[in-house]
Amino acid sequence: MREIIITVVTISSISGVLAFLLSIANKTIANYGEKTVTINEEKDYIVEGGETLLSALIEENIFIPSACGGKGSCGYCKVKVLEGGGQFLPTEKGYVTEYEREQGIRLSCQCKVKEDMKIEIPEELFNVEQYESRVAKLENLTDKIKLVRLEFEEGKEMEYKPGQYIQILTPIYKESFEEIYRAYSITTPPSSKNAIELFIGYAGGICTTYVHDYLKAGDHLTIVGPFGDFQYRDNDMEMILVAIGTGMAPIMSILRYMAEEGIDRKATFYFGARTREDQYMIEELRELEEKLPRFKLKMCLSRPTKQCKWTGEVGRVTDLLKKFEENGENKEAYLCGSPPMIDAVIPILKDKGYKEENILYDKFE
């Protein structure tokens, strides 16, 4: 008995003394006091010093995109630091290029607020907020793609542009031990402010597995958004839209927006899939063709089977573009899908005369 008591007392006092020392250190050594972060030379925020820039900004309700949650392993949370970021850290090296480094780009999850800082972030990030949502609908579009409808609480509205995306905070569940953010494009038009819809494909990742195998209608999901500069641009140029798989999501938002606003632009949507089972939303796209007089849908299948009874184009979207596109000098292109698809499409469009600044894309990585 005596031994047990001595053991407990010893361990407790050793940990107690160390914890006491550490908390004193935390209050004195690691206490940097309040610091001012000036954003875009106009807004001043008083934050607690010593934190990382990313978490300091989150406390001020400014959400910098971050997929890994501040572990320095995704490289999304870049901000431009004009003054007071301290030295460039070895942990940032893999994510910030030499050129960006000269511009003052830092990873906000690594760079700590130790002095007053001046930083620059895209204006639209002020618009980014965290939303609590309820899964109102969960529907299989194909055997690999689900439609997820998220409704916000009454009165809560999200302002976004067609083409932008949100991030889902995937909670901890059976197959994942950490909370992570994953990005998905919004498919609804901006007029749908109280609810948004997403297309989520099954890819075996942490979030897609969660959505496909664990999420149920009625569940709650935390999301952050909207993000992204892949947005519909308002002009009169002829446009082409190219997507494969779930890449249709932001394009759907753009087309629905155009239909709602009655925008009459010449537009062609090239949509590629593997087989007929992988095509989805075709009925709505056909309806859009009727609503938008100068909009055309062109589809292709890369591996049609006999059961498909496919009489349309066979091949990939790149083959379609080579076949139908010409003279792209005054045209705009919106590309969305996997990185290999986009990397294959861009040179083809450049060959056809598209100007670099008119090729917009969103790589789903």
Binding site: I14, A25, A30, T91
Partner: protein, 195 residues
């Protein structure tokens, strides 16, 4: 047997290298050995932490645990001491030694859980070293660890552009190289043995 501290120091580097003969501290060894410069900084940080924690742990063990007959608590106590020490050092150099922080501080959290640190503290107790011997042993182990990781980083930089079977890339080939390095280090083992 009382060994000369210099002998222990030498042996800890070459014949009883933490990585190559005990396979301790492997996780950071494999993860950070891509680049010579970073490996060297990490090695320095390990040596630094080893040197101090072995002294603290030595005192805690002999002044607190032994008199109370609580030797069996050493595992828990050493871990707590190492973790808090690393935390404290990180805070201090983050605040007062900026350049040092950029060179070495960012690696400190990686070291908290490095088993080589706990290993050294345990070995010095098991082998019944005096304080001077413990210091020699811990600094030597740190330098030995640095030597191994820098050598590994150099080898990995040399083979970076060589084609490898897909499954061997990264940690796979590193483990194999470590094994071969360990074989080479057996060559030293005839000089002196400390265990």
């Amino acid at each position: 047997m009382t060994l000369n501290p210099f002998v222990i120091f030498f042996a800890a580097i070459f014949t009883n290298n933490m990585i190559l003969s005990n396979f301790l501290g492997m996780c950071s060894f494999i993860a950070v050995s891509n680049e010579i410069k970073t490996s060297f900084s990490l090695g320095e940080a390990v040596t630094f932490v080893l040197g101090f924690t072995s002294i603290i742990n030595y005192l805690v063990y002999h002044k607190i645990l032994v008199p109370l007959n609580l030797e069996y608590l050493r595992y828990i106590v050493f871990i707590i001491v190492i973790a808090s020490f690393v935390q404290l050092v990180e805070m201090i150099i983050d605040r007062y030694f900026q350049t040092l922080y950029y060179a070495l501080g960012v690696f400190l959290p990686l070291i908290t859980v490095n088993c080589a640190i706990l290993g050294v503290s345990l070995f010095m107790i098991i082998r019944d070293y005096s304080l001077v011997q413990s210091v020699a042993f811990s600094i030597g182990s740190g330098l030995g660890w640095t030597l191994a990781i820098v050598a590994m980083a150099d080898i990995r930089q040399k083979i970076k552009n060589n084609p490898l079977p897909k499954g061997l890339e990264g940690p796979g080939i590193t483990l194999i190289i470590t094994g071969i390095m360990a074989l080479a280090f057996i060559g030293f083992s005839g000089i002196v043995q400390i265990q």
